[in-house]
Symmetry: C2
Subunit: 518 residues, 2 copies
Amino acid sequence: MKKYDKVVKNAAGRLVPTIINGEEHIPYQGVGKYKPTGRKHAPSISSCADYPADGNKTLSSLKEALIKAGLKDGMTISSHHHFRNGDLIAKQVFDIAHEMGVKDLRWYPSASFPCQADLIKYLEDGTINRIEGSMNGPLGKFTSEGKMKGMSILRSHGGRYQAIQDGEVQIDIAIIAAPTADAFGNATGDRGPAACGLLGFALGDSQYADKVIVVTDNLVPFPCIPWQIHGNYVDYVVVVDKVGLPERIVSGTTQITKSPDRLLIAEMTAQFCDEAEIIKDGFSYQAGAGGTALSIGNYFRDILKDRGWKARFIRAGSNKYPVQMLEEGLVDYILDGQTFDLEGVRSMRENAGHVNTSPFTSYNYHGKGNFASMVDVVILGATEVDVDFNANVVTHSDGYLLHGIGGWQNCLFAKTTIIPIPLFRDRMPVILDEVTTLCGPGELIDVIVTERGIAINPLRKDLLEKMKNSSLPIKTIHELKGEAERICGKPEKPALSDEFVSVIKWVDGTVIDAVRKV
Amino acid sequence: MKKYDKVVKNAAGRLVPTIINGEEHIPYQGVGKYKPTGRKHAPSISSCADYPADGNKTLSSLKEALIKAGLKDGMTISSHHHFRNGDLIAKQVFDIAHEMGVKDLRWYPSASFPCQADLIKYLEDGTINRIEGSMNGPLGKFTSEGKMKGMSILRSHGGRYQAIQDGEVQIDIAIIAAPTADAFGNATGDRGPAACGLLGFALGDSQYADKVIVVTDNLVPFPCIPWQIHGNYVDYVVVVDKVGLPERIVSGTTQITKSPDRLLIAEMTAQFCDEAEIIKDGFSYQAGAGGTALSIGNYFRDILKDRGWKARFIRAGSNKYPVQMLEEGLVDYILDGQTFDLEGVRSMRENAGHVNTSPFTSYNYHGKGNFASMVDVVILGATEVDVDFNANVVTHSDGYLLHGIGGWQNCLFAKTTIIPIPLFRDRMPVILDEVTTLCGPGELIDVIVTERGIAINPLRKDLLEKMKNSSLPIKTIHELKGEAERICGKPEKPALSDEFVSVIKWVDGTVIDAVRKV
């Protein structure tokens, strides 16, 4: 089977395949342009007559569960990444598959991490045909070099739920590693020796997969409360010694930046939000867990505190900073999609105002609305931005695919999207004529904040008007690009092959761009 | 269209129609015998592009919402009964339908109550073709008299969810009256001026209906926490002056019985459970909100307290008695399906151990298991029992259909099912040769407790063995029937027409019995 076929130019002017791994996909048609017409995926109807009346679904091993679930060639196996770089279970699944001689699996993780680099050997020997999901680090590099047998497909968190819900990806076996569970399969992430906070990334898997296996190292008597995952969706429960390494849940930067440039960018961003009257009593925001974003959150906190205001909610990736704000009464709710540190886990367990969300509630574009578009301001990162405000979040300027999309695309629907980035990294300008990989259409990106100036998207006349007398260095995107090039020189485009190794889905399941082999 | 057609004898020996309201239904095949083979109902895929980005789905009136939802002849309209006899919204929906000249609607309530007796006029004039759902009181009487144009179908709470999930009943418009909601449609029952506790009966409606309307009298800023109903399933939100009468949520008896006979039955039941070693540290039970059941719960409480034991969970219909046990530390969790008094509402709002459940988690027979079969002992009522331990819960001995099934059928799957009933009511024996209407197959009913003796189902050899030296009056069901007949005389069968007016579904969607016109 060809990895891909029938390349067309999509509405963003990008060349993308429309046959991928033998299946038909729709090219990107513009923001809000593609209208789905079908029905949601309909799982088979089960019967209680086929499940133990006493609710005890435990089996003796993961292997037994995989055999009972009917593991065979060509199946789709899903997993979640709430343990982040402390995952222990996904690898075991493929060890067993390899031992059983099963081939050509599609792995559908919500994200993969460097701790899963061992799986490269199974990508090489054909146990795994391809990964459809974010690939952070080594697996991304492997993909970039064209070594994956199948074609990888990257989706946002919301796009992953959408693909499951719409039946675009039918999961045969979902593996849900759970810090606490009961024998019926009710499961929670907020407690237990390997507590990771929540299990929202596995929600869609539980609802729509054919077979669902919960793996835990902390079996409690029924009922496991809270039941973030409903046992009513679960087929088998397996108890293992250790389900994850909680100390490695904290991955990436979750400390406020100390870099003077980044602190400056953070301060400028906060001042911008203040002057543009985005920050107000009852406002809402989402800022990531990177150093700059955390620092911006800190400025927001100071402003709220000084003025006696309160945010209505913070959308998170939570960590100790929003938790502190919740506990200080500076925000009513944290609507949390994943916990980035153990303070986040604790707060979610203890505080009814720290609320468990999922890609269904927050990001699914094929729902009756979602939370992302209700957020007043979202602060996002990017590897590259271009003069049309398009942004890239998955490839570096050398073309290597090293990051997942996460909730990034979904968050672009916030009322205001701000990307605070340094004007150059390692003497490579970050603002280009055209991004290497298109992940976010410029029309959804409102403001670029750099240490040398702030560019407002011309579409946002309201913001331009509000900031016209600002003391902040408001410039055009072309001016910013010019400054970077004066300092670093005009960057050369990376020398990439014509061959595609991966495609990037837009939030509605259409193909927005393809990633080329390095 | 004929109301019904193709009458066959089902596996319980009952004559039942297999064509009902023009649609094909499967006759009952025995407990656990019918295996579904299809797929769940697949709702249309939505797109956020069709919903307001700011999340504001409010419309100015219920009428506007019904028009936007496309209300037209022949549609299925659903509602929930968490306000019990204090519902104010269902009637308004049909007032509007009548005003618009819409005809032949199928009303699919989770239950109807005497406060909805006004709807009889719409059943008469053809606005409503039929009710599929429990009918308590006047609407049941109307049905029994053969006056409903269509054929009514009664389902248990679990059966109602199953029918929605399986696509047997496709809801066009779900009306969800909510004590608190936000403009996005997130809704909760546990707070607000008309707080009714929870909204679990509307869960399936929200997930599977084509259009979902949330009606509230307490609109709060996003996010409404907790979100018992997810706004992501909701199309429109309507604000009204008053959504329900909380003082009428308390309907039926929710006081401990004072009748000496019933107190005796309660005491015997508790003693039976104790001697049979059903009550133990960590056990679980479900007892209804009737006076006898409450009294039994009180005895259980005393036993736990005396011995320093703790129940793991109480399945409820909650009221002040289990709430008190939760607060005294005599039970870890209340797994609550509906609140029967305002103490239940308060507890659900305040206590994380008082957990919101739904027919999906608790009762859906077409899930991967449900909670009902994990309960150690369930205490249920019945209008009639027969010598094969079959029971009736919907018709009186005069044949009138005056009660809904509720969760009764679903609860029969508990490890032990006990029916404590007086041996006769108004000098009518309660134990008969054959029940008027078969709701629960005898093989699932383990013990009948009357004031004059206890009958154990011969299938439960373990219980017979355990009780063989008991001081309790253990008798055969025939002995009990004989005693009643010695006192009251042999009861005459009610004189009923051959015409059917309603059918009773079993938990798996098959037809277990039909109700005859009086």
